[in-house]
Symmetry: C2
Subunit: 378 residues, 2 copies
């Protein structure tokens, strides 16, 4: 008996309720059976996104949603600002450059959060920035950016929209799309929403739709105007990913039964417990500011390879966490507490980490981390 535990920042475990719903017989995406399914999904997504805007449903990974947020709203040579504090900030830059946008970057050291005033300064200095791209949670570092503060700044500019990658932050954090002035927000199925990969979600404000009117970038597959039109008829532009959307309705039901406020609080509590456990073990957090509720990035201790920790966690203890990416590969490892996660997932993570360090001959007080966790979780 060797049980497996998926504690990576996506895909995350899928609850049986969703798995079983998705195992029901296939229905046709243009037949009337599917109308109420998509109707429920689109309305549920609006509640999760805390928005009155349309939330469009795309058959793609989260990156597809990011691409759609670029190629529907801008034109070649449009000047945009990308806040790049990790692997996914970098992805915004790559996508914008692939479409010929004129990208200004604010590089944020990995492990740190953007200083909103630096964005304000740059917007003032440059004058004609058309869009500000940012992550709510930067998955590669476990750091959040202050979206509320950025929303206030961007709202001052009539021709500038705020585009937020909330793929790994959605439902782990209370992100108030409309109240905070988020023009475009991207989500994905395989993170807090506890589904298999295959769907991305994009909410679009009226301010952003106005920009879409003049956008001439190629967007045949990710055509949000066409999606918006079809969504009014409870359809998607191309074939709907029927099963995943059926699963989506199940997880929306589960999240709303728990209550969104409780869902946010649970993620905050699990993240807090994880950090306390890690500290009690004697390790350092990689996030120096605004740690995420979705994923905790931990520095590998002196002399221990972070990838080795990832490997022993998985091979000896059945825990699939995540390693570090790019220049922090080997230097950090990451444990998620995202989606279908409760207190004992954190206990498992911290216990497995204690045993892993012991296995790697690193001095550790067995049980110290777990005790600190329990203190928080009690």
């Amino acid at each position: 008996m060797f049980k497996k535990y998926l504690l990576a920042p996506g895909p995350t475990p899928v609850p049986s309720e969703a798995l079983l719903a998705m195992a029901m017989p296939m229905i046709h995406h243009r037949a009337p059976d599917f109308i109420p399914v998509l109707d429920a999904a689109k309305n549920g997504l609006k509640r999760l996104f805390q928005t009155q805007n349309d939330v469009l449903i795309l058959c793609s990974t989260g990156t597809g949603g990011m691409v759609a947020s670029v190629n529907n709203f801008f034109n070649k040579n449009d000047k945009v600002l990308v806040i790049d504090g990790g692997k996914f900030g970098e992805r915004w830059s790559k996508i914008c450059k692939a479409y010929g946008l004129d990208v200004k970057e604010i590089k944020v050291n990995w492990g740190y959060s953007i200083k909103p005033e630096s964005v304000e300064e740059l917007l003032k200095k440059e004058g004609n920035i058309k869009g500000v791209f940012v992550q709510a949670t930067e998955t590669s570092t476990g750091v959040n950016h202050d979206i509320e503060a950025l929303g206030k700044i961007v709202a001052k500019y009539d021709d500038t929209i705020l585009i937020v990658d909330a793929i790994s932050a959605l439902v782990a954090h209370n992100i108030r799309t409309d109240d905070w002035g988020i023009d475009i927000m991207v989500g994905g199925s395989q993170k807090g929403l506890m589904l298999p990969p295959g769907l991305s979600f994009v909410s679009v404000s009226e301010k952003a739709w106005k920009k879409a009117e003049t956008s001439k970038l190629e967007h045949f597959y990710f055509n949000l105007k066409a999606e918006r039109k079809k969504l009014k008829e409870n359809q998607t532009n191309f074939t709907s990913a029927v099963s995943l959307i059926i699963g989506l309705n199940e997880v929306i039901k589960m999240l709303e039964k728990e209550g969104l406020a409780n869902v946010f609080a649970r993620h905050a509590r699990l993240a807090h417990a994880t950090r306390e456990g890690v500290k009690a073990i004697g390790l350092n957090m990689f996030a120096k500011e605004l740690p995420s509720n979705s994923v905790t990035a931990i520095e590998a201790p002196q002399g221990v390879d972070g990838q080795k920790i990832y490997k022993v966690l998985r091979e000896n203890y059945g825990v699939t966490a995540a390693g570090g990416q790019d220049h922090v590969k080997g230097k950090i490892f990451r444990i998620a507490h995202l989606g279908y996660a409760d207190r004992f997932d954190v206990i498992i993570a911290i216990s497995a980490l204690e045993m892993t360090l012991k296995t790697l001959a690193y001095p550790v007080n067995l049980g110290a981390g777990v005790a600190a966790c329990e203190q928080v979780l009690l």
Copy 2:
């Protein structure tokens, strides 16, 4: 008790073996558990595609695979030929035009098949056609195009590639990718492969890869060169649609247990039985040439609305077939015999059609269509 029967040309019914496999606990797409899964899937796809070429796996609908076949291999103003004999031929044109290609079209009347010699003539006349786009089965009309003949013609041109949308033909027809000289072939999950929508597959020949070297069209999400590189490591470029790929391995197992030759023969037999049943009822086939083994398009009889037949089939008899699209809406309806289909699916379809026509007060000899079906299926 009101059982439902999905007899539409995609999505098609998903066998329990695949549904249950996809309901297994989630695994991580970058962890070693997934390596053998993707390895099996990519090798199985090669066998289904009858190719030694890479078959790339994309998280998208079939249309995404079609887009990838355009924006990875061509450049703006490249002259290409689209064979347009229906809704999906038209889609090739729309995609090519969206990317700025110079599109020459051969329009084929709906219900008819391309005359290969007309392609030969046009290639000669134009001189510098870079690609020929065609459907193996045009789903909107139930007509096939002669891919083998087109392959022989295109092979004579060193700088011209043949791009085949086999989304609804794959495994319903014996399509010999390599032997016939198909440079790019697109498949989808929700047709003959009996899976939910969400995956597309693209095979690419060396001749096509050569063209990819000089292609400068935007393709951030559908980047086949990046997919090829990742596939060698048994990964996909972005997050893998883990569940669907697990399901894919199940259906590949099922298809190979049956034997590909038997799978093709079964589709041919079911299509033949459907046509004989329809004729015995006294209705006419919409396909005047090369009828598809995947889907049969049937003309609504004089004075009966085809959409009404679709509606009564579904509402009174629980059979979800398909109506007609665009200018043949109301004039035809379509019955699929694709994927997870056996003889009694055809019997159900023909029996439901007999009862539907009776319900609509159209004169019909009850049982005559079914008898003709049985003659074929015996």
